[in-house]
Structures are given as structure tokens and as C-alpha cells.
Symmetry: C2
Subunit: 146 residues, 2 copies
Amino acid sequence: MCRHCDYKELLKASGLESNSNRIRVMEIVGNSSYPLSAQEISDTIDRTASINRVTVYRILDLLVEKGLLDRISAGDRSFRYGMAPNAHHRHHPHFYCRQCSAMECLSPESVHLDTAFLERTFPGAIEKVEVRLDGICKNCLQKLLK
Amino acid sequence: MCRHCDYKELLKASGLESNSNRIRVMEIVGNSSYPLSAQEISDTIDRTASINRVTVYRILDLLVEKGLLDRISAGDRSFRYGMAPNAHHRHHPHFYCRQCSAMECLSPESVHLDTAFLERTFPGAIEKVEVRLDGICKNCLQKLLK
DNA sequence: CGGCAATATGCAACCGAATTGCATGAATGT
DNA sequence: ACATTCATGCAATTCGGTTGCATATTGCCG
Ligand SMILES: [Mn+2]
Ligand SMILES: [Mn+2]
Ligand SMILES: [Zn+2]
Ligand SMILES: [Zn+2]
């Protein structure tokens, strides 16, 4: 999906050693057209050389902390992971289907969000803005109608 | 906090019997200046006549389903509950402090969000839009600096 | 009122996603 | 080679929240 990203380079740029597990996780997330759960990432990894579930969680934590990945709230109690905004990936909103729990990335232009005023006046430190739309996805809508 | 809301009336209007437990939950949520966790609601209830934890969860589920309350994703794995948008409560964004896990309601005008285009063109059904800002709250910022 | 169905509540057990503790394995530096 | 640091695996645990099922309360009809 993303042929712009040199994951090894991205890791280096964030001051992280780039081992094969980290690169694998970055690739899987970067290649996905929608944000992935830790479970989905782990399952994908298991199709080649498997990494322990806990290690995957720890790698995800690390990559989020270093700002390479975004941890995204789904409408349920789980998290999804996607590329953090960078030169090649603009910040964008997501859609969550409460029927099938699938998430979709929406285009950066799909909604207009202006936080400039708040950023200037809010007394705390704003680090991230998350916009999530909830509802029923196209697929589930069709199934429900018949 | 909200002297506009007749909770008994709101329940009735949504086709729900209004018993004391439901009214109690509505009051607690409606009187709060920030969205509350089920735990916080339960703790508040326990200061008077206590209701079983599970019953609180079930009442919350019901009120969310009927559109009286909003279930809001915090930045962690828990939910918060606030009044759903209605005649007296405009839809508004929230702030989540990753340090102390506190949430704040932001004013409806604080950010400008335009989803009109998406609402027209999105192939699924959009039922809800959530805007959450994450960071460090004013309080925690001060503590960190000294 | 009595009888009975429908709802609401309580309690214990359970669940899934994520986290922790601790032992072991790899990598790095001297 | 050896010590130090960092990465990984495995088992056990935590945390919000949910389910199953028994009991209580309510609403409704005669
Ligand atoms: Mn995305
Ligand atoms: Mn609010
Ligand atoms: Zn769906
Ligand atoms: Zn805080």
C-alpha cells in the first residue's frame, strides 16, 4: 500500500534500532488500507514467522510512544493501529461499524476540522485529535435490508 | 448543572418507564460537568442508596440505546457517559488527559467540524460523530513542571 | 383484591483485550 | 570473553464490561 515508506529508515529517524520484528509490524500496519487491531496484526504475522502476542503488544506500545504509529479508539473496547501522520500520510478520520466492528480510513478531505482556536486557548497540551464516525457500514446495511 | 432537564419527562419521551434507578442515573450524568465512567456513576450512587454494579451497566446500556445518553470513548479502554445531544445540550468534543485519565467537555464552539459532504456521500449510515482531543490537562501539566 | 406475565434487579461466574512479573535469549560495548 | 543492556516468551493477572440464571418488583386483567 505504501511505497513511500522506508520503515527501517522511519525507525532509525525515531531513534529506534530496527530489528526484523519491528519492521514486520510497521510493514503490516503500513500496508493496510484500514487500521488494524493487535489481534489482526498478530494473525498476519503468524502467516510467516510468528512473534509472541505480548511482544507484538510491546512493539506496538513502543511505536506509538515514538510517534510512528497511532493508537486509535474503536467504538468498542479495543484499539486499532495505523500509521501516524507523517510526510506521506495525512491525518484523517475513521469510521467504525457497530455491527461488524470493522473500521475504515476516511479521506483527509472528507471532513473539515478546525481546531486552531482551541489549540491557542486550551490550558493543557493537545497532542492528538481523533475524529471517529460511528454507524453501520455499507456491507452491513445491505445485509440488514434483505 | 442542568436545570433545563426533567429527567422523568425525558425518559417518558423515549418510551421508557421512569423508575427511581433510571432517574438517579440520568441525574448523576446530567449534573456532571464532565463525562463519567460507569465506576464513577456507581460510586456516586453508593453515597445514597446503592444499586448493583450490573444494574447500573444495564441502565446505561438502555439509556444509550434509547438515545438519552452518549457512550464516549476515552483514550483508554473504558467508556464515559454524558447527556446525548438534545434541545438543551449541543454536541461537543471532549478532551482526554493521558496522564490522569480525566475527561473534560469542550464547548460546542471550540472546534469547527463540517461533515456535510461526508454525510451526503458516505455509502454507510453515519449515526454519530465523536471528536476527542488527547494530551495532558492543565493540572497534570503543572505537576510535571515542578 | 388475586393471579400472572413482563420487567427489573442481584449475585456469581465469565469474557476479551491488554498488562505485568519474571526468566531466558540476543545484541552491544569494552 | 564478559558484563550490561535490551528484546522476547510464557504464565498469571488486571480491568471494564457482560452473561446466565434465580429472585424480586411492577403492570395489567379479570
Ligand atoms: Mn487510518
Ligand atoms: Mn460532554
Ligand atoms: Zn459493518
Ligand atoms: Zn490530567
